[in-house]
Amino acid sequence: MSDQTTGPSPIVSLSVRAATPLALVIAVFVFFAGHNRPGGGFAAGLLIGAVLVLRSVAGFPVPFRAIPLLAIGTIIACAVALAPMLWGDVFLNQVVVEQTLPLLGKVKSGSALVFDIGVTLIVSGLIVAVLDGFRADHLATPPPDLANEKTNAENDS
């Protein structure tokens, strides 16, 4: 973590600040490439997570909380899994849409993309949760009852 006495080094914080938008753009690219090339929701989530870890090392605060990300990601993924059954299809079936958009040309996409949004949210949420867990300021000093329990356990032995 950052050096408590002097604060994070300006070089680190500047380069992390410069790297953030680049990494996010790559995350977006990887996310959309995932339809039929290497990439996808998991890789994009990891990239976003990597950005968050870098920023947290450089002393920037984490802008999200973990649980809402995890929860919303789960709900989105489950909804996409269940949606095809509304029109009597097999569950987890996917719909592929192909159309020509202005500027982008021919774009092929499908319901798997929405599923991937859920995956991305879950993966980045997991990483935020782990960051919280490792920092865990509220756990840094064990509450008094825990300290007691430990001495009890030692007395028993």
């Binding site: 782990v130 867990g133 490792f134 756990l139 840094a140 064990p142 430990k150 032995s157």
Partner: protein, 127 residues
Amino acid sequence: MSAALIAAVAALVGSGVYLITSRSLSRIVLGFSLLGHSAVLALLAAGGSAGAPPIVGSSDRAPSDPLPQAFSLTAIVISFGLTLFVLALASRQRQLTGDDLVEDDVEDRRVAQLSSKPADDRAGETA
């Protein structure tokens, strides 16, 4: 190619099992990373000989078997999550006890002492 892969699997399993017999959780985590890699390599070996990337129309050569690759990917994702979880456990243990060693079970020790003591001592023993 399989012989090399299988030798690598054997080496990884060996060192992984050695590491998880340790009491320190950080070593156990390292051991599991190695074991996870060994499993992924074994799945890769299960896929048979290497071929072109298993994407339809990407090459003229015969594609390699896509199923073990899908398995490996899932296994990697799962072991990633679990490694993080065990690391969090280790860090919590360090906060509580100052180290990350797995401790003995208090109750186990009590039962072990029971058998080595005469019966009339037992009343005070459990307290």
